[in-house]
Subunit: 236 residues, 2 copies
DNA sequence: GAATCTAAAAGTCAGTTAGACTCTAACTCT
DNA sequence: AGAGTTAGAGTCTAACTGACTTTTAGATTC
């Protein structure tokens, strides 16, 4: 029988040297064959008495110390050539963490973070998997509220826009972005303002319903398609 | 280790008593424990030297005689409670067949077709899986050209609209539907007309590029998001 | 403490689109 | 020949999108 494993592509946003937000993800150094010494996605074999998502959550915690706020199944990869040693079918999850939640994550010689657009050669078909996770993230960004997963409980409109811009890879018009977000009904103004900026203090917002963003249970969320969409804008 | 299986939810459209198109799907009678005698989705164990999609395709053919034109991975189901006998992780695919392609499909006491909205109690969590496949089908209908999978090589605008109406479960305005389809650039008029109708003979169309709709390889198609969308219309 | 800088937040405008609807064309059936 | 039917073209309006302008409210500078 093929071996069954779970892996997770987990994204966070952090500023690069220029201060622009970029997608980063952790990889784990392999310590055995095949691909010994190469970087790979965090993961591990599925345990006997464990749901798929529980396995993803556990292996992610064990290998990187991370507990994502958003975790969703991505795809099952099972082509014959993907593992030289022996047949492995991997159920891959993808996840988001806020930058302020990875403080206690491991950062040692066996775990390292890479910019998503500047990855090394990863073990197995993991580069391909990251590509697919990225396309899913970008796509989902346009019709859901997963941006939440990158942010703290409260955030300014500019911070939210920064997330969208970083993930979609293009600038968005601040006024139009605000209009769309406000009309979506997903945001609630807290009444508080962020002080200490060198300009007019911005309103702090939070997401209205305290929907649990974690994809609990094996069952995917059904009605994921909302009218809210961020499309191309030409403002460069 | 958990057992690994593949199953497929395969849809077709056929007219009900009133002539309205409805979604139907085949189920296979189980001949062993657990759920002996109950209807279940076609599928079977993954073979040692076989890609996931190849396994889906093979088990579907073996159990029902069907060769779908469209086959895509749906989800990996792996919760602990889903199979009473022993742990089974199922990688589920979903598929479409045109009605005229199921002529040579088995129709015996062990394979039976059911209306998707009037299913019996299926084995395992298969009712849940069908629900999810339905939601995926409806969603994908709005931004892709999978309607193709239900139709022959050429079709009239009314036939195409009938597919959309049946899947989405609501009437669409013929004029607006035509406008949207024509502006999408996906259709090509063949120049031929369908004769023998009791009214003005309609133009026959086909899909422009001969894109292979079968999801070959383990890798899902990446850029699946097109601008073309069929949304709610109030015409009852 | 007034002028200046910055980004927040509100508002404007034109081009595009979606939905509801009307009208004519082209065939078959009686 | 006239009635029935759907094809297919076209019209109208409200809503939406993207680009842009103006005003507001703080911090910083002089």
């Amino acid at each position: 029988m093929p071996e069954l494993a779970v892996s997770t592509v987990i994204f966070t946003l952090r500023p690069d040297e220029t201060g622009a937000m970029q997608l980063w993800l952790p990889a784990v150094k392999r310590i055995r064959s095949p691909f010994d010494g190469m970087w790979a996605l965090p993961g591990g074999p599925l345990s006997e008495e464990e749901d798929l998502i529980a396995a993803a959550s556990r292996t992610l915690l064990e290998t990187t110390g991370l507990k994502p706020r958003y975790l969703e199944q991505l795809y099952a990869f099972g082509s014959l050539e993907r593992s030289p040693g022996g047949r492995v079918v991997s159920i891959v999850y993808w996840a988001l963490v806020a930058q302020n939640e990875i403080a206690d994550a491991y950062e040692c010689e066996n775990v390292s973070w890479f910019a998503a657009d500047n990855l090394p050669n990863l073990a197995f078909d993991h580069n391909l998997i990251v590509e697919y996770a990225l396309s899913r993230l970008r796509n989902k960004m346009e019709y859901s509220r997963i941006a939440h997963g990158f942010l703290g409980d409260t955030f300014t409109m500019a911070q939210l826009r920064e997330v969208y811009e970083a993930v979609l890879g293009r600038a968005l018009d601040p006024g139009n972005f605000r209009r769309e977000m406000e009309s979506s009904g997903d945001l609630v103004a807290t009444g508080e303002r962020l002080i200490g900026t060198k300009h007019r203090p911005p309103q702090l917002y939070k997401y209205d319903t305290s929907v649990d963003l974690t994809d609990q249970g094996a069952l995917p969320t059904f009605s994921e398609h909302s009218a809210n969409s961020i499309k191309r804008e030409k403002t460069a």
